[in-house]
């Protein structure tokens, strides 16, 4: 027997705040939850896509995040915004997926080189400021292209630090690695990103 759908006597959810909608959803109001999904779906999908770099996977993982957030609603106590809370759920789902994927593939030599560090110390310092040099749309496109060139560990640490503004400690906990590893990966990712945005060659000589 399917769960009973509760319809609020106020059909217009669009003016309600997230807090009000969460309150309604916690009481079983699917309409309220659907409004929350509608409001935040692009953001949650975008975060999944930034990590997975694949549309279908990002759609699936974002939907899984919404299902999980419905199941765990009682755990949400407003310690962060609702959108941030669901974002954390989708990030963890993406990381689980990436870990599962990693167990089944062999790392390339380049990725191992990145992991061991040292490459970034050889890169020349980039003195040009990309925001001064490039138009907004061009910069966005370049960033997207550069993100594709990073390994998923480096892309993840960059996403978590630069876009999700997590501290090192939280990133380490999320990625299940040490703070030192977070710092090295972030350093590498930033330096490689700087070089890519400046159109510098980043391949290492073997």
């Amino acid at each position: 027997m399917p769960p009973v759908k509760i319809m609020s006597k106020y059909a217009d959810y669009t003016s309600a705040s997230d807090e009000e909608l969460v309150g309604g959803a916690k009481k079983g109001d699917m309409g309220a939850f659907e409004e929350l999904v509608a409001r935040h779906r692009d953001k949650i999908y975008a975060r999944a896509f930034s990590m997975m770099r694949n549309e279908d996977e990002a759609v699936d993982l974002s939907q899984e995040a919404w299902v999980k957030s419905w199941q765990r609603l009682e755990q949400f106590q407003g310690e962060s915004s609702f959108g941030t809370w669901v974002t954390r759920i989708v990030i963890n789902l993406c990381l689980d997926q990436l870990r599962r994927r990693k167990r089944h593939r062999t790392e390339s030599i380049e990725e191992m080189d990145e992991e061991s560090g040292g490459v970034e110390r050889q890169m020349p310092v980039v003195t040009v400021n990309p925001t001064e040099r490039l138009e907004r749309g061009e910069l966005r496109k370049k960033i997207e292209g550069a993100m594709d060139k990073l390994s998923h560990e480096h892309r993840t640490v960059l996403v978590l630090h630069e876009f999700e503004e997590m501290e090192y400690k939280e990133i380490a906990r999320t990625m299940e690695c040490s703070i030192g590893t977070v710092m090295s990966r972030l350093f590498y990712a930033r330096r490689k990103m700087a070089a890519l945005l400046a159109d510098l060659k980043t391949e290492t000589k073997s």
Binding site: S15, A16, S17, D18, S81, T131, R136
Partner: protein, 158 residues
């Protein structure tokens, strides 16, 4: 003997005062400054039309709740961290398509700010920027909302 003792006390007091001055002092003038610049949108709407906008941090929310502004909600549009060397200027800090700043480190936690709106220079100002004392530049935006640029000295703020 009494006068000798008096002079000795004075001398020790002077030394003590000098030491206290040196110890309590002031950060050396020749230091870089780390500044966080946040573009905030103030509105009475419960949500922002742009899903990338986030709620502002608790500390800033508290300050704005005590400000003369009575917007109900504030959303963070953009946030950047810059490190500025003494006597150097960080130019072209772009907060949005319409808002940019140049910030110069004048030393002793003083900054010079040039605020640009739609590429036009609006104001040049010099302010002390002690930690935990943000400088907030603000104005009206469309549809009864407001823009705020929050400039904070974040060094030693944690």
């Amino acid at each position: 003997m009494k006068s000798f003792r008096f002079v000795a006390v004075l001398l020790w007091a002077a030394i003590g005062l000098m030491a206290a001055t040196l110890l309590t002092g002031v950060a050396p003038a020749e230091e870089p400054i780390r500044i966080q610049v946040t573009l905030v949108w103030g509105t009475n709407d419960p949500k922002s039309p742009d899903p990338k906008h986030k709620a502002i941090g608790a500390a800033l929310a508290r300050k704005l709740s005590k400000s003369p502004f009575r917007w109900k909600n504030y959303f963070e549009v953009n946030r950047q961290m810059v490190v500025i060397l003494p006597e150097k200027e960080k130019a072209g800090i772009k907060m949005s398509d319409n808002c940019a700043l140049d910030i110069k480190n004048l030393g002793d936690s003083r900054i010079e700010t040039k605020l640009y709106g739609k590429s036009k220079l609006l104001e040049i100002r010099k302010d002390p920027l002690p930690k935990d004392w943000p400088l907030i530049l603000a104005g009206n935006a469309e549809n009864d909302t407001a823009w705020l640029v929050v400039i904070e000295n974040v060094d030693a703020a944690r």
